[in-house]
Symmetry: C2
Subunit: 316 residues, 2 copies
């Protein structure tokens, strides 16, 4: 995909070019959509219209944010919930983003034993499936994965496409992430690394030798912007990992966490925002056919605000 | 789905009825399929034929094993890798199993923060999507999930359908599972529970108050049959969790692990086998149009052998 340049290099280059650290989530939820679209679906609740509605909304979001989006991050769950209509909309969204040369991080948190992880890797990262001559229309630039199974659950994703990026869950943004991730491991009679920190150590190990020109590895991490202290600790353990940092906005994450995660060169962390960017309106405010212009203007404004807030924090 | 009887009760009842503890994996891999099917796809490499081929093979497996299968466990990755053809085949396989009243455990290892976990739960466990009047054609009886995110990543799955079952990854069957899962946690100056054992403690907590008539909870665990000692330890920590135990066969798991996992009443553990059951032949051995009868006979024989080996071990 786009030659063999490493994902980390492509991401950093794109961030420089658009002077931004914002990754735009694409999490369609009909119940948060402009009232005009919801009303149309109520009148005609069919799957083709649902598909068109999902694509139409994503297109508005992409057009409103393309100038400041380092990458787009569709969340697989929000498409799976709508069955084939959702999956068709996801595939069309991937096509739309690729046609514009924009980077795609599929947030699917896939994980399994080696043999099975290989099948997920083929699904999302391979340029084509071995059975078919045509290109894989599901291929994305990077994928989120869950590292609970250890090395042999991660290697197949690395091997499927060396130019693809991975983000392993380390410290997640949700309130209960500490139930497992914050527990300290026993280390020679002392409380040692936490579970999340041990995951960061594994991430560093998986990334060794895969660094691109900018010095960042193929394997990055998901680190919630809701936990600034954790971001700092994890950065020390995996200095060459790109941090994908959700939680700014609806979940209350902080800009300090992004700075803490970014490392010395400032290139190591990107803020992923979904709900906060996608739905800066109440559905009933956008109830007529002019919804597109109005939604685009509001989404553009909040994305621009987020981009500037982050860039200013880094400049300070 | 099938009334409001809990999944654990339905599973145990079915196991008694068919005198078996075998769960049949449905992991389609064209390269392991009978030569006759592979050759047809080589001649005509199109997506419709691929879909038909996947369904045809699954149908043969289901017919050959229905008498001893406690449940069927399609692995989502092996369908996702084939794009829409694979997903259509998966949906038709779900329909096929439901029409026969057979239990379905979707092995998808989904996981995310609460809001997003809710969307996955809707996708796989809800009787219907809120938007539509018709039944959800993706609904299954149980789902595997990854508990790395803690409680708020699991509760939405529980709430989506109280009659559905969940299997949380605790100790996975793969060689590298110990890299994280076997590490001991620090506990008041001592090596305490391992990470996998802590997950079992969380599983026990999530299952509290959800027990069915047979005493087993809504939330079970995935425990590799490749680690008998771990199975014993995890059983003590989560006495009310059903164990889904993969790793018998291709991965070298042991029947002792199944016994260790089953608990005092012997109802707590079920052996999931995929590759070992599905492909007891070399592709070139089934190269002509008689593949169906031959594949069915071989698959039936190995499934029957596995069922008997396990039942005898429990009777001993």
């Amino acid at each position: 995909m786009q030659g063999q340049e490493s994902f980390s290099d492509r991401l950093i280059e794109r961030a420089r070019q658009c002077e931004s650290r914002v990754i735009v989530g694409l999490d369609p939820q009909i119940e948060a959509f402009p009232g005009y679209l919801q009303e149309a679906l109520r009148r005609q609740p069919d799957h083709d219209l649902l598909e068109e509605t999902l694509v139409a909304f994503n297109r508005v979001v992409v057009e409103a944010t393309a100038e400041m989006a380092v990458a787009y991050k569709p969340q697989a769950a929000f498409y799976e919930q709508y069955g084939f209509a959702g999956l068709r909309a996801l595939q069309r969204t991937i096509a739309l983003l690729r046609a514009k040369g924009l980077l795609i991080i599929m947030d699917a948190k896939r994980n399994d034993v080696a043999h099975t992880a290989g099948a997920y890797a083929t699904a999302w990262l391979a340029a084509r499936h071995p059975l078919f001559a045509e290109a894989n229309s599901w291929q994305v630039d990077a994928l989120t994965v869950n590292g609970y199974l250890g090395s042999d659950g991660i290697r197949p994703f690395q091997e499927a496409n060396r130019a693809a990026g991975l983000f392993v869950l380390a410290k997640t943004s949700n309130p209960s992430s500490g139930e497992l991730q914050d527990l300290p491991l026993w280390e020679a009679g002392q409380p040692g690394l936490t579970v999340a920190e041990q995951m960061a150590r594994l991430v560093a190990c998986w990334g060794e030798g895969t660094e691109g020109k900018q010095g960042y590895a193929q394997v990055g991490m998901v680190v919630g912007a809701t936990y600034p202290q954790a971001a700092l600790a994890l950065r020390r353990l995996a200095p060459r990992a790109i941090f994908l940092m959700p939680g700014i906005g609806a979940q209350g994450g902080s800009l300090d966490a992004i700075v803490a995660g970014a490392g010395e060169d400032g290139n190591g962390a990107y803020a992923a925002s979904s709900r906060g960017l996608l739905y800066p309106f109440r559905p009933e405010e956008l109830a007529d056919a002019a919804w597109m212009e109005q939604a685009a203007a509001r989404i553009h404004a909040v994305a621009q605000q987020l981009r500037q807030a982050i860039q200013q924090r880094f400049a300070a």
